[in-house]
Chain length 200, copies 4
DNA sequence: CATGAATGAGTCTTCATTCAT
DNA sequence: AATGAATGAAGACTCATTCAT
């Protein structure tokens, strides 16, 4: 191992550095989702990423930076998902497929709620309006994507429909979480799908 | 009651004591709503209630007890509201009036979210799973009340409707909060009202 | 009850006052023995004596006064015991009977140690040499009584014998307590009795 | 060992870390002996070890862990002593030499009592019963060592003799401490030595 | 770049003692 | 005298952040 690391020294280090950053971002996204921002320590994230605590600060100057990294993770994940959905020809199918994906995640939702929604809710409790704005942007992205779909369907009130659509998701996630019942995702997901079908 | 309090010895003391407890509960409900549980210190609540910090513990043994007190406040407030609504003859009117009340609170929702919803979301991040159950019960109360209204309307699927109704409220509150837009409450409130009217 | 307390008002109050003081002293002696001085709160003693917390200070100005009261209780108890023993004609019998009494208390010794010895040990940790002196006096009383017995037996080295005698008791109590073994009191009591018999 | 430490990376840090831990353990042993567990604050120990208060928790998670460290110190010290004594050929001499060592420590005993004995007595006041067991083990170690000596002497009743031996030490320490008289150690030490000589 | 260790501000909680009635 | 309530000074413990190597 000593030889290997000596050979790939400079680029290897860079690689490993980028890898650590990625691991930390991923760990932040997950741990912050599960435990919330305030109940999560830097050490928790470091441990989950298998990075020494003191080393975290080389990649992220503050805890807030780690929260930002988590938000970026969620943004990236969302983009992945919408990119995939955009390959479907019918906008209504895209929306319905997204609902199906949410329902599939019902166990996670029941246990920890929506990653972005709970994060935004927690960050909005802060007096300083810095991070909460960034959390809102992730949700805004989803709303905007949904709006594009409703618009593509030629429906009037696309903006409101988009809000209704995302609000429905956030609402069912919160209730599923608060009542510890994943089946709320199932039944409400069906209702949301029916609503999508009813729009003409 | 006036007679009783005259009879009891040291009524002043008891009065003051009960008053402080009430003030602390009210302060807890408000401050926890605004700042969240983890970012709120006992000192914050004590200050808001104008009670010396050390004295808080005479009324509430732990911080969690103060959270419980806040939940009780929310329960009490919810009961007040539903009791008032129950005086309306038509269940559909009851539901619509409640929506109107939510819309009226749009500025608060946009700033801090739904008191019970955000509290439940935060408490569900805890590993222990004690308080989160209690937070869930408050939400369950609202769901149950809504279900009774849908049932009174003679509608099938009252249970699912009730979930949809409360989820819609939680969803619009969360989005309004995350996007800092009180008008989301207005537009989504209108949509929710329209939905209620459409049910036959 | 109102009538009764009105009738026996003045003397009854005095009586009750003295009774409360006695109850507090007794409670202090017991609770301090079981929990130690530092781990015992005024509230603990008040509760054990069934006296309202705020009322304790009418009888005892400080916590240290309660410790003093406990020491007095032990003094009084010791005097009772030695007075009883002094009625026995033979000094050796007195000493042996005392040992037997100690052995009988073996369960208490194993659980909490010697009341006076553990109290003295704890108080001696204090920087201010106030209460520890008073605790020493109780032990000194026992040593003096023992010395009188050895002297009455016409034995040389009565002072040293007395120290040995009391030290043996303290030692077996401490070991019984530390090792949680009441039978240490039994076996060591037998050894101590044998030693008393061997002195000529 | 010099070679090893040169090889290890960042030996300075490790050294300093281990050193601090050792200093904290030693400080804990001494300060807890002098002041007792309950009257000693973490800050007291930190100050005695010349370590910033907040840093103590890097080495010891809780105050109880510091108490455990103190117990370990006492265990180590006891092992050192008995290891030294075991080099003496005659078991009786070993026991008598130990007594002599105790007598030499008479000033400390008179001021603070036996480190292990007073610690065990204080810990036994706790309801939980975790640390008290560990304190008992240290005393048990001494008893066991003594028993081996008595057994090596070919004496019947070695177990009881061992208890008597250690109890005598604890008793004379406690009396010396309670009566503030170091000479009790001297005279009782002589008596104990005489007792050892008398056993055949 | 890596990392164990250091720092110190902050938070919850306890409790002896005092106060007001 | 009696008593619930008030007060404030600790003390244990946590943790984000920084430092030294």
């Amino acid at each position: 191992m000593a030889i290997v690391s000596r050979v790939t020294d400079s680029p290897g280090t860079r690689r490993r550095g980028a890898d650590k950053r990625r691991r930390l971002s991923a760990a932040a996204a997950q741990v912050l989702h599960h435990q919330g921002v305030e109940r999560t320590t830097i050490a928790d994230i470091a441990h989950a990423a298998d990075v020494p605590v003191g080393n975290v600060y080389y990649y992220f100057k503050t805890k807030d930076d780690l929260v930002r990294a988590a938000l970026s993770e969620h943004t990236a994940r969302l983009e992945e998902i919408t990119d995939g959905l955009d390959r479907l020809p019918d906008p209504r199918e895209r929306l319905k497929t997204l609902v199906a994906a949410w329902v599939e995640q019902r166990e996670v939702a029941a246990r920890y709620g929506c990653p972005t929604g709970t994060l935004a809710a927690e960050l909005d409790k802060r007096a300083d309006g810095v991070l909460d704005r960034e959390a809102g942007e992730v949700i805004r992205m989803l709303v905007d994507w949904a709006e594009r779909q409703f618009r593509a369907l030629g429906l009037p009130g696309a903006a409101d429909h988009a809000i209704t659509f995302v609000a429905a998701y956030q609402g069912m996630s919160l209730l599923s979480n608060a009542l510890h019942d994943p089946e709320i995702m199932t039944s409400q997901g069906a209702a949301l799908t029916a609503w999508l079908d009813s729009l003409t």
